[in-house]
């Protein structure tokens, strides 16, 4: 089976609250894929795009605090399960590592409020990256024993796991393949469609709903047209708009879509034989039942 990798685990706001199912699935999945999660508790929201747009200095410090506490666990890797957290933490990380003066200032501030200084660098990686290559990939293949039996899954990446690519840097932002590899390793069939790499509209779904829905409809409509049974995404914010706001598309398009949306951990969890108590599909707005029935039937 190989050695277990211990990682600092930052779940972010949504996985803590409205997307509890993501945390539940991730925690249940972790041991199956050789990950030992050291959950960070003295942390806050990473700020999403919002604190960056309101009080960017505060955003930098909040992320520095998370990085610092992650480093304090002694782990080399800080693992995230959300695109936005990944971008924010990685960006803060690059800023601190790349500018000694800035890091010194931020550390002075952290220390003065009782937070340890961020000295030892950690690497911020999304669960997606952990499992899409190398050892994680090998373990994934071993874990996905139940398989997806050729289920057609539409990958939806979500902007901030790909762009800006010099901060994320895991794969070619225009030709990524991590989700497809994982889908296939799980025994599913990855379905392609044009809006796979575009925006779901979540950041403006409240402030500019109409504009956001104009974006949201594209991946949903196209994935269904391409024959997808379900969609998977590595970002709980995308998940929220794709799943919870899907019903709003009826008013703008006149169509009932009903495309089940799975978190990445859930998709792998299904392939690994995890059950409802861990995957918590009941928390989804668009029922996942039909897809599970297809699998079992």
């Amino acid at each position: 089976m190989g050695t277990v990798k211990r990682v600092a685990y930052y779940k972010g706001c949504l996985a803590s609250l409205s997307a509890k199912e993501l945390d539940s699935a991730t925690q249940a999945l972790a041991p199956r894929v050789g990950l030992e999660l050291e959950e960070l508790e003295s942390v806050t929201c990473c700020g999403a795009g919002d604190i960056q747009e309101a009080e960017p200095d505060y955003s930098l410090h909040l992320n520095a605090r998370i990085l610092s506490y992650a480093a304090a666990t002694g782990c080399d890797t800080l693992m995230t399960v959300c695109n936005v957290c990944t971008l924010n933490l990685r960006q803060a990380n690059f800023q601190l590592i790349g500018d000694a003066e800035l890091r010194a200032r931020v550390n002075r501030n952290l220390i003065s409020v009782g937070v340890p200084a961020y000295e030892h660098d950690v690497d911020v990686r999304h669960l997606l990256w952990e499992l899409a290559e190398g050892e994680g990939w090998a373990r994934l293949q071993g874990a996905a024993h139940k398989g997806l039996k050729g289920l057609k899954i539409a990958p939806f990446y979500g902007c901030q796991i790909l762009r800006p690519s010099r901060i994320l840097g895991f794969e070619d932002p225009d030709r990524p393949s991590s989700l497809e590899r994982i889908i296939e390793a799980c025994g599913g069939e990855a379905v392609d469609y044009p809006a796979k790499l575009k925006c779901c509209g979540f950041p403006i779904i409240q402030a500019r709903e109409e504009t956001a829905l104009g974006e949201l409809v594209q991946p949903i409509e196209q994935a269904i047209e391409a024959g997808a049974d379900a969609m998977v995404t590595p970002c709980p914010l995308c998940h929220l708009s794709l799943d919870a706001w899907q019903s709003k598309l009826k008013a703008t398009t006149g169509r009932d879509f009903a495309l089940p949306i799975l978190h990445l951990s859930q998709l792998i969890g299904v392939a690994a034989g995890l059950g409802e108590s861990e995957l918590k599909f009941k928390r989804h707005v668009v029922p996942v039942g039909p897809v599970l029935e297809k699998l079992d039937g």
């Binding site: 706001c13 949504l14 803590s16 609250l17 409205s18 997307a19 508790e41 003295s42 942390v43 806050t44 929201c45 700020g47 795009g49 919002d50 604190i51 960056q52 747009e53 309101a54 009080e55 960017p56 200095d57 505060y58 930098l60 909040l62 605090r65 960006q91 803060a92 690059f94 800023q95 601190l96 790349g98 500018d99 800035l102 501030n109 003065s112 409020v113 009782g114 762009r163 800006p164 901060i167 225009d174 575009k198 925006c199 509209g201 950041p203 403006i204 409240q206 402030a207 500019r208 504009t211 956001a212 829905l213 104009g214 974006e215 019903s247 709003k248 009941k282 928390r283 989804h284 707005v285």
Partner: protein, 355 residues
């Protein structure tokens, strides 16, 4: 080398569109622009596209290659040709097509003009016939925004604009920031008001396509964030987007985790929340609307609150908070790793005398 391309041809007067394939012989150093020139000169003189400087500074040759906007003159073809890939060339998005790869740039320029892109002198007047005295550090706040060559690559890929064509867009907003951050400009608050409208900064969907596509490193998305930060700092925060952002700040310093349930009424107001009641119920039914009490509080949240107070004393508010990180991020963009190689090491051209 042999280079093959597929080009979407179109004529706005006839309305027709067709995908045409070309294969030409081009020098190894050829760019996409060079290949288009060869096609136009020797195969089909009717192929229309803009060009001028061929050195990434005039901004004429913006077009899409495989759906992603690039400058044709910056795109070397050797590795593409070698791999056997046949790219599809099409005009930039979000702008009306005139002919082939030529788009009507007037909507682009109209939005540019809409942000009043010229200095409106302020109260500080330099001594007669001399320059304003400003530190390089202060001017660096708008360094990236001043790099913009108006090529349109960002606008081409803007997801928000695709859904909402009246969105001001990354280029116009980056230009607005160029003036908001310029210490010589006296109209900062009016400018901020201008970009806080229905189709201003709060319509940006944060897809980061603009940052990704910009051939000059302007990072329009970051400019938009700077405008947001400065707006809120100046108390221009009536927009739902601003309220949404401020609630995140409030959450972080009180409970640490985002206070999701209260986010809706705080952003959209009570009336709108009531209108959304049915929608809210569909979420509540599956447990996605956790009761706000007791609040979900993160451990040691007082550290976060103290940080917030401390930073307010340090006054690095507004866009300065974004600018402070730019030096480090520029290193990523430069692709230069300090000490990666000795410029005079073995295999290098010898060090000249006096170097």
């Amino acid at each position: 080398m042999q280079v093959a391309l597929k080009i979407w041809r179109a004529n706005s007067s006839t309305g027709g569109r067709e995908l045409c394939e070309y294969e030409v012989d081009a020098p190894e150093w050829a760019t996409l622009l060079d290949v288009l020139d060869i096609i136009k000169d020797r195969h089909d003189g009717t192929l229309a596209y803009r060009k001028s400087c061929r050195m990434m500074i005039c901004g004429s040759c913006g077009m899409r290659m495989d759906g992603a906007a690039v400058l044709a003159c910056k795109t070397r073809m050797a590795s593409i040709a070698e791999s056997g890939h046949v790219p599809v060339i099409s005009p930039m998005g979000n702008l009306p097509i005139v002919k082939d790869l030529v788009v009507d740039m007037e909507p682009f320029w109209a939005k540019f003009r809409a942000v009043k892109p010229y200095l409106q002198p302020g109260y500080t007047v330099p001594p007669a016939n001399r320059e304003h005295r400003i530190s390089q550090k202060r001017m660096n706040a708008i360094h990236k925004e001043s790099l913009c060559i108006n090529c349109g690559c960002c606008v081409s890929e803007c997801n928000a604009m695709e859904s909402s064509p009246e969105f001001l867009g990354p280029q116009a907003l980056a230009k607005a920031m160029r003036f908001v951050g310029d210490p010589r400009d006296g109209a900062k608050n009016e400018r901020l008001e201008d970009v806080n409208g229905q189709h201003g900064i709060w319509e940006c969907t944060r897809c980061y396509f603009c940052n990704e596509r910009c051939p000059k490193g302007v990072d329009p998305r970051d400019a938009i964030a700077k405008l947001g930060a400065e707006s809120i700092k100046e108390g221009i925060d009536r927009d739902m987007g601003a309220k949404h952002a401020k609630w995140f700040v409030h959450s972080a310093k009180t409970t640490g985790w985002l206070r999701e349930t209260e986010l809706v009424p705080k952003t959209q107001g009570i009336v709108e929340s009531i209108k959304q009641a049915r929608f809210a119920l569909s979420l509540a039914r599956v447990g996605k609307v956790p009761p706000p009490f007791p609040p979900h509080v993160a451990k040691d949240v007082r550290e976060s609150r103290r940080l917030h107070e401390l930073l307010h004393e340090q006054e690095l508010g507004g866009f300065a908070g974004v600018v402070q990180g730019e030096a480090a991020l520029a290193k990523l963009a430069n692709g230069h790793v300090e000490g990666a190689r000795d410029p005079y090491g073995p295999g290098s051209f010898p060090k000249p005398e006096g170097a």
